[in-house]
Amino acid sequence: MKTALRFRAAVALALSMALSACFTMNHSFPSNTQFGHRPEASVSVQPVKDVAMKNYLLSGLLAYTSFGTKDLAKDPGPGRQLADVEIETQFNWFDFVVSVVPGLYYGYYVWAPRHVGFEGVVIERDAEVVAATR
């Protein structure tokens, strides 16, 4: 009996670990986005910034697709790109309360939000990007 219980506990622990170990956020942006150093001979068009709540299920295993989740940065269009991009991930009060309080920490496994924001500038430039050779 004890062995069976221990086995179940071990399986439950392993399963929850395996499921939860994926709480990673990929910060993806439109192609040719520049972080930091702005390209030479570029013209700044407009500053952009946005913040969104990213929602995750099962401690991050799955991202909710239609519950407050949206793509942060949209493609600025042909001849334009994002530059000077900075990203901020915040575990703010709301995220904390949602993750922790419902169900005395079990809420974290049901709904785990984070607030992710970025800011940068849309630039225009004539030069084409030449793919690096290997």
């Binding site: 670990m17 986005t33 150093h37 690096a132």
Partner: protein, 134 residues
């Protein structure tokens, strides 16, 4: 009974006040070029592919971060070394298996402490023709 209830309430309230909006800010203001695109405006050659990881330890649900702040873009720029920049940059953050183990087991579901990680991956590039002044 009342004392136990108070202890539970305190245990819940402490991290609530201490959660203090754990924030990760990815920013880079140096002279390296960091892009998620396949190349730069001039022909480049890939010098090396890299994958790097950094981890931050914090107390009380992120309320008291310790050590150097996480910054994936700074970490990517460090990988460039003497070279002008990084292309095909991928940036992500969250909790990997080790973070999860630390946060959930010895840190008691993050109430006492925890860790958060950032991962970067990309290609360090060098200009195929040297740029004047560099």
């Amino acid at each position: 009974m009342r004392r136990r209830f108070r202890l539970v309430a305190l245990a819940l309230l402490l991290p609530t006040f201490g959660s203090g909006c754990y924030t990760v800010h990815h920013a880079y203001h140096g002279d390296k070029i960091l892009t998620n695109g396949p190349g730069l405006e001039r022909p480049t050659k890939v010098v090396e592919h890299f994958e790097a990881h950094d981890r931050q330890f914090f107390w009380i649900h992120g309320g008291i971060p310790t050590g150097e702040a996480l910054n994936g873009l700074e970490l990517a720029a460090q990988q460039a070394g003497e070279h002008p920049g990084v292309v095909n940059l991928k940036l992500k953050e969250g909790q990997g298996f080790t973070d999860l183990l630390i946060t959930h087991v010895p840190c008691l579901l993050g109430i006492v402490c925890g860790t958060w990680s950032t991962w970067v991956e990309g290609d360090v590039v060098e200009y195929e023709t040297p740029v004047a002044g560099r």
